[in-house]
Subunit: 148 residues, 10 copies
Amino acid sequence: MNDPKTALGRKILGLKRANGLTWAEIAARIGMSPVWTCALCMGQMSAEPAQAKGIAELLGLDEEEAALLCEIPYRGAQPMPPTDPLIYRFYELILVYGTSWKEMIQEEFGDGIMSAIDFDMALERQPDQKGDRVKITLSGKFLPYKRY
Amino acid sequence: MNDPKTALGRKILGLKRANGLTWAEIAARIGMSPVWTCALCMGQMSAEPAQAKGIAELLGLDEEEAALLCEIPYRGAQPMPPTDPLIYRFYELILVYGTSWKEMIQEEFGDGIMSAIDFDMALERQPDQKGDRVKITLSGKFLPYKRY
Amino acid sequence: MNDPKTALGRKILGLKRANGLTWAEIAARIGMSPVWTCALCMGQMSAEPAQAKGIAELLGLDEEEAALLCEIPYRGAQPMPPTDPLIYRFYELILVYGTSWKEMIQEEFGDGIMSAIDFDMALERQPDQKGDRVKITLSGKFLPYKRY
Amino acid sequence: MNDPKTALGRKILGLKRANGLTWAEIAARIGMSPVWTCALCMGQMSAEPAQAKGIAELLGLDEEEAALLCEIPYRGAQPMPPTDPLIYRFYELILVYGTSWKEMIQEEFGDGIMSAIDFDMALERQPDQKGDRVKITLSGKFLPYKRY
Amino acid sequence: MNDPKTALGRKILGLKRANGLTWAEIAARIGMSPVWTCALCMGQMSAEPAQAKGIAELLGLDEEEAALLCEIPYRGAQPMPPTDPLIYRFYELILVYGTSWKEMIQEEFGDGIMSAIDFDMALERQPDQKGDRVKITLSGKFLPYKRY
Amino acid sequence: MNDPKTALGRKILGLKRANGLTWAEIAARIGMSPVWTCALCMGQMSAEPAQAKGIAELLGLDEEEAALLCEIPYRGAQPMPPTDPLIYRFYELILVYGTSWKEMIQEEFGDGIMSAIDFDMALERQPDQKGDRVKITLSGKFLPYKRY
Amino acid sequence: MNDPKTALGRKILGLKRANGLTWAEIAARIGMSPVWTCALCMGQMSAEPAQAKGIAELLGLDEEEAALLCEIPYRGAQPMPPTDPLIYRFYELILVYGTSWKEMIQEEFGDGIMSAIDFDMALERQPDQKGDRVKITLSGKFLPYKRY
Amino acid sequence: MNDPKTALGRKILGLKRANGLTWAEIAARIGMSPVWTCALCMGQMSAEPAQAKGIAELLGLDEEEAALLCEIPYRGAQPMPPTDPLIYRFYELILVYGTSWKEMIQEEFGDGIMSAIDFDMALERQPDQKGDRVKITLSGKFLPYKRY
Amino acid sequence: MNDPKTALGRKILGLKRANGLTWAEIAARIGMSPVWTCALCMGQMSAEPAQAKGIAELLGLDEEEAALLCEIPYRGAQPMPPTDPLIYRFYELILVYGTSWKEMIQEEFGDGIMSAIDFDMALERQPDQKGDRVKITLSGKFLPYKRY
Amino acid sequence: MNDPKTALGRKILGLKRANGLTWAEIAARIGMSPVWTCALCMGQMSAEPAQAKGIAELLGLDEEEAALLCEIPYRGAQPMPPTDPLIYRFYELILVYGTSWKEMIQEEFGDGIMSAIDFDMALERQPDQKGDRVKITLSGKFLPYKRY
């Protein structure tokens, strides 16, 4: 059931290119962050009606498409393991750092996890003389395992 | 060939617990960051001799074990997809955000990737009234795809 | 790193049988629920020291084994798809009811998930003339997807 | 052969949204439970003609679509492991609790399984000050392994 | 946890060979059918104490081994797809006849399944001039899908 | 290349339903067994021209469709592991009984297999007070492994 | 259960090398073909007692090892897809010629298969100016699909 | 990119049947062997223009289809493991004989492989009183592993 | 999202054939290397507008197709393991040489990798009396693992 | 059967480190190339007796270990997809360049492959102001697909 939202994503990418817009500009139109707005347009998030309306007006989507932005997706269209090198590098981070994340989060917080639902993130350019860097900041609520 | 380094990691976890040490304290001993130090001890990084010596002295490892810390690992002992919920949540982030990371990094930097080798990260507690959060900061050099 | 906890689980199953104990009786000893206590003993949960001590005294475990009960497991030793018919039936429920759970939870709560961490459950015998039934009650906190 | 029933499911989701109906209201129309009715509409159950007729009248389906509701599905359209986070959490419960379910059911009932066929379930909102909870009640007939 | 029962199975195969016994003879000793008795010895079924005692006496097993016969197995040690040609042929029958079994059982019984739990089977030699045949008779209770 | 025969199978299922026919009735028309006839119609067997003609006349298929019934299929359209519970139960039987079938057939016949090609089967209702049973009889020629 | 026979195979390879024997010489000792004898020694076939005795005498195996040669193996220890290039080339032949074998055998024989049980083969050096060739001759009984 | 060649293969199978041709007759028309000609038509080989023209004239293909016969395929359309029993038997031969082929070829030729590229094969009927046999002769150049 | 670029690749292959062009000639038109130009046309690289324009003019592509050449691909359309023998041989090189590459690169450079992004390659014919050879030269920047 | 050769490889790595040797030095001792010598020591090639003797003398291996160097390996111990980032990059090259290699080799040579058996390679440091590069040169004999 993910298909219509993913197809809309492809259409939005085209409109974004044609209109010379950035994710930051689209996000500013609805008062949300660029990452979430991008994920919404790629078909992985659900918008509230006002947000969908804002995007639809900016990009020239019709009402059915705006409604589609509000639908909750069947998430996870990304093939695994990722075949695209950019996306694969994040998969590789899990292979290399998975156990370290576990040990460090548990040392600090005890038994539990970092939520991927009550979660937000940002992505920015980090200027650097030896070559600019991609800086990603993840923030998820710690959820302790319930003992009952 | 990963096995001896992973086994050493299990021993270090025990010594760390027995000595009441934190990753930050172990890291401070060798002047490195806690995440890298943890990854080193979990068998996923290679140390320089002085770093290995510092950890060996702190934890009471013998020379052979110190040398093992210097060996370059066959990385990636983590089972995929991860069965542990804490580690799985990062896998889920790829499923949900993979295409957004691609679109956003490429919008900002053009065709290329974020390096997972010229890479560093930090992990900290983010106090929050609704429940403290895990904050993770990733930083990788942007590598443009060569056109030749 | 799951192995020692799983091995301890096998030992506990033997001691439980030898002592004619039920999960309810072991759970009562530490004031916890039978399901959680069983999951703890099977190596999938972490105990607080007092809980571990209670179980160790009841079953005759040594201090190292009590400490092992307190360690946080690398969860998920269960092979997938399950080969055991009893466990497979739960897998089959996902195949048949997965989309229905999604539609019903989202109708009631909006975009989000049922937590498997802030979660508890109970299992009981439901007498029935046509054959007694297994009744399982799951309860997980609803976590709304953050929009940011 | 699952396709036509799954496609009908997508159409029903649209009609349900357009008519502002809940699963409880659709279920009430045919005197069945909401979960079963939802599973039927999602293409995973087969209706009796009167039930199909009730749903068809309520939603404006034609006769062929009503007949399709009566057809027995090739069950199991859900991808495994689930990529959607809401559905994945149930998969994770098997990873974590699979062996505990086995030990507890067998302690109480002996060698056998909980039926996933002579099975029913309910799903409800459980109000809670710290955040409402999803409560799911499963009930399946215990089937003892035949010794012959 | 299947291992000790499978290992016992290998030992029983050796004792059976050494004592020149058939499955029919072992089964007769405990008043059960040869197929079930064989499955029990191969570690896939659980015996009642008297049955385990009968087999232990016949084959010279000790008490711990007799108790192991009574333990409920984590079933399903068979690799899939089967690599052994004899076992693979049954897998091939599913590939070829799976949809036919579904259509024929449902034509006769309606929506439901043949139980693999309330199930028994027999295996016999069917003399035939063109070469004797293996005759297998399966019998499982029909379980109708509950509508609720 | 299986597709046209599978698609024809779906059409035949519709015609069978529309005409209120049973597999036994279709089979009787061409003097064959119901199981084989069902497997033929489901696209897993090849008919002789006279048999195809009989079915075509009974159901109103055209000549091209009759010819398609005579074509030898690329067998095995069934997804594995089966996602449909009715078909999965047969897969489960292999997991549980695979090694027993091997030991019993070899005890009786020596080193070899039960043919899945020189093979026939029947399926019938077995009345039973505790609930009717599905009875399946398989018969395959024993093929001894050639020693050369 | 394949392990002891495979382990014996490794021992036989060592003895064969130490004694400077060829498969043809070992085969001649028991009056069988080199391929079958090799497959027997590699743990994939079962010998008659006299054959096992002949090999045991030639290579200096003890009685238990001779008996092991007579046991029927759980066949199929070869990993798939093959990682060894020599064995992989046969896998590649299936990828490339699989459909051609099907069309050609069926053109000649009708609906059925070439038996892999009532089967024999030979392997020889084919001198050739451009480089000697490996010549393999397979012969399997044609088994027609039974229509019933 | 395999698709157009595979689709052409299906068309050729239909024309071959309609014209009552055999692979031997088609092969004779272009002076090649039946197996290679069949593999070419099934989309797994590439023809020289004159060969393609010969087949096109015989079967009534147009110029574009003749050109398609000359294109080099992306080989390997066969699903693995094979689901069709005829093709699966060859896969089973690898499972059973893979290690024997390796040991025998290496005994005769040293370290290297049988080429699957500089390779030819033939397939014929082998009359036999107990049932005719399929005889397949494979011949591939031995390629020694280069030491450098 | 790879599809339109892959489809364009198929079209370009046809135009290249129809115009009797080589990759070297197409590459020369835009002043780039043949390998990169080929990878671009196969949909795995992104062009700068002038490069896309050059190719479009040479081959007669329209503006939309030229723009498609500039889009950054979701890389990795190649099935794995490769089914085509030419491509599989590179996969086999990893199986055989993977650990050697690791040991040799690390001996020379220390802990790090050869970049597949800051990477270029060339492919040429190497005349040889015993048969011409394919010579491939890979060059990737060494990236040292950051210690932080 | 790969295990003893892989284990010897681990021992050789230790001896190489202890003796401060490079692959070039070990290779020079036996007059072979460094890459082949490294692959031999890692257990993926077979040596001639004189070569094995040279390595054994240099590193202090015993006769049995020298003999092991001469044994032909069951090649391919590398896990796939590779989990180690250094080795994975080569896998990624296949994902990105696989189809380009195919098109370019075929343009130059026609239908066939680059041999991975009649194959050699070299690896060297390529000084570069922007960071030194790894240069790998592969050379394999072109093998044309036989038409017969």
